[in-house]
Symmetry: C3
Subunit: 352 residues, 3 copies
């Protein structure tokens, strides 16, 4: 269950090159490519001629050409031409709203009118750098939202990198502001775990002193989680410390449903220190990729367990509040979609 | 949906050696072997003792012996012997009509009385050579018939070997003669594509001159497609040119259903030039095998798209006429099978 | 269909080390580990917090800790603690009776009261040595019972090691003693097959003389098969020969259902000669492992054939009597379980 009337990340910009990309978003198989103007286009991945996937085709001078019999498809889902054929009567395929921005390709899989894309200030500021990747994970996207909105799992799943005992000893605080859910945790005077030692060292700060550490997770619908993370040398104000005493960053998570039990996980880290240092970007990406891969087996096996035991009620503890509240926001969006669909039907009925 | 009362290629003759071969033809799992007389036998792949697959057994002095407990099975599906047992009351398994001929093993998976096997003159003439192979493809066999009865796909799928722009620019002509469907295309004064350059060169003809090229596809039920292909140096009469000015061959396609969404594809090329040149046979086989493998991903992905969208109607353009007409012939055969089954039931009812 | 109120081998003792083991027994996914006292514990593999598999966790000071958020689980299926949480109201998970004995870990997957574990004298005597292994096989456990209670298959499946023509020429005798089924075969004055030549040689006996060979298979519920096997130099009394003239051993088979169409097969050999010779144990284990792997493809393909043809009745010959009678014992146990369940319901109804 996922809202369809929303902007989802379908791909990292660099994934769509000369070849069209086939990818399923919210159960909609799509072909994604760039047209002659360089704009991204997302269409149903289904050639109206004989049902071949258009993603096996080619982009010729910015036009998508089916790789089976040469049908040339337009950006609006209407056939432009086909050798030796009149194509005016050909059935159209669906075109999905698509935008390339912030280094990502965004698509709107629903039938409703797209809203403006939300701003991501860090993605457009020269003071920030970003590096990230994509994982394909066989579980409901909401299990990943749960995962990211409850970081006590770091102590257990990521024991050798970012986990530390103090995480699940520190109280967690969850707030809901309209559609935004914020869950935060502050750990004062702790030892920095390996990942943060590396970051301190890389920023010319001592890695062996006690630090104040924080994690502020923000969920926004449909399924984005941004996490402010950082450490400051103890006694300088923690989260509010002067930049010279701290290292901080933003963990970026776009969680895009593929099917009911699989999703595309776009993860990365944005930072506002040493933004020009591309070697540092690579190092962080590699470390983060390794850490996030540790979650995959747990999530996929959890999914299988839940499918085996659909009757079991899970617990909703204080640490789970972030995920629970996020699911409530998702449920509100789903209900709004159902209401809108009902209203359309009612209008149609009144008109008939 | 496939007719069962028909001769299908089950294997290339060389596939059945000392060991019995297990293969499913038209949803019937069969074991195929050669008996003491050297004749091929096709039986249900199911030992009447405990259900073991007989294809895991051995052929001992021309007799099929189950590899589990030693039951010896006869060519008629009746148990011949079993150590320490009286076998007269053992239930019989089904024996399928089977013939070895033209370098292939043919089986008749239906319950009706077999018709004579159709002649293949090129397979028995010393003036012809043949080389080919088998692919196992996860799609309805009719998608392969469509593929072969509309060669405009060569321009797109086989761009680097036999495809060329002129194919889909040349008009196609389709005729139906009873159960035979013929679709043909003639391209005059074109450049020979790489495959035909190789063939011209191999026949001592210049490869850089303009040629007249032809493709004449013949579908015959249940699912055989033979394609006359060739090029003649331009100005010598094309298809009708004197042999010294042309290179021609016959693309041979036996398309045998395995299940509703998979088939065995026996492909090859018969040629009436240099028939003794076995190195040339190997070269052509290798080239053709590579070309035909290019179709597989497209066909399998097309199949998956069609399964996802069973409600979609595909287009039937002029270029699709060969496939459309072939499917009509298949549908007539299926209807005839249904009628015959109905007549049997009606007779049984009247008798009862 | 398998009785659930019975002791099944879940693992070899050495399979449960520092990490908890996840394994499905009789359709119950279990996590198996050793507690602080060193006793084995088997619980549902489902964390009551969020459904993560506990088998992905860790054992810390003898306590099972969930690898996702650190819930500490007790041996009785009740949560002991969780960082920052009160756990008294947490739902319990199921604890299965479990025993470590005879080198194996035994579990009782049913809800009934466990009976005492049956004795295995060879497993506790210093005069005996044991070596074995485990295979995971995709077929109904009863097909393996059939396999082991009818050793005529050795002639065909194991032709190069223990099979010989005389096996299926010798009469087989099957007796039922209560829940025990015994099927035996004696072959006098035969040549020893390769496996037994090796054993004779290893025991300082001539390998080229004629021998008397025996196989006595004993099925006991739920699904254990012990086979007395051996050869004696001909003319010394066969099965009853003085130890100096024979080599004998016990083939040990614990067949544990996983699902309706898969099982864990624990195989091995116990012998009362040269019990200290661990190199010999390894040699025998290697040989036996190779032999038993020869059955796997046959059994898995037989299973698929039976699933394809559920309507077919299999034969029940004299050689099949061991398997047929064993299945009758299993069916009696199943009926007793159904009766007990009915009685519980009836009592509940009368009470209500």
């Amino acid at each position: 269950m996922f809202p369809k009337n929303a902007w989802y990340v379908a791909a990292m910009a660099e994934e769509v090159g000369e070849q069209p990309l086939g990818r399923t978003i919210c159960k909609e198989p799509m072909v994604i490519y760039r047209n002659a103007a360089g704009s991204v286009v997302a269409l149903e991945d289904f050639c109206p001629h004989r049902g071949a996937p258009l993603s096996l085709g080619r982009v010729v001078d910015g036009q998508l050409v089916c790789g089976y019999h040469g049908l040339a498809m337009g950006c609006d889902g209407k056939t432009v031409s086909m050798p030796g054929q009149r194509v005016r009567g050909f059935p159209a395929i669906r075109a999905f709203p698509a935008i390339e921005r912030y280094g990502f390709i965004w698509v709107w899989p629903g039938a409703g009118v797209p809203t403006p894309l939300h701003p991501l200030h860090w993605a457009e500021s020269p003071d920030w750098a970003y590096g990230g990747g994509r994982y394909h994970i066989q579980c409901d996207y909401r299990l990943m939202v749960d995962n990211l909105m409850d970081l006590t799992h770091e102590t257990y799943v990521h024991a050798t990198s970012i986990g530390q005992k103090e995480i699940d000893e520190a109280p967690v605080n969850t707030k809901v502001n309209g559609d935004e859910v914020v869950t935060s945790r502050f750990m004062d005077k702790v030892h920095a775990p390996p990942f943060w030692r590396m970051a301190l060292r890389g920023n010319g700060l001592p890695e062996d002193q006690l630090v104040d550490r924080w994690q502020v997770c923000r969920f926004t619908p449909p399924s984005h989680v941004m996490i402010e993370v950082g450490v400051a040398l103890a006694g300088h104000g923690g989260y509010d410390a002067d930049p010279q005493h701290k290292v901080s960053a933003l963990v970026v998570d776009f969680i895009t449903p593929e099917t009911d039990t699989s999703h595309h996980y776009f993860w990365g880290m944005a930072r506002n220190f040493k933004p020009q240092d591309s070697a540092l970007t690579d190092t962080i990406r590699e470390g983060q990729g390794k850490i996030f891969s540790e979650d995959m087996e747990m999530l996929e096996r959890q999914q299988r367990n839940l499918l085996t035991h659909p009757e079991r009620k899970l617990l909703a503890l204080n640490i789970d509040a972030g995920g629970v509240q996020s699911r409530r926001v998702i449920e509100r969006w789903l209900q709004a979609e159902r209401d809108a669909a009902g209203a359309v039907l009612a209008t149609a009925g009144a008109a008939g």
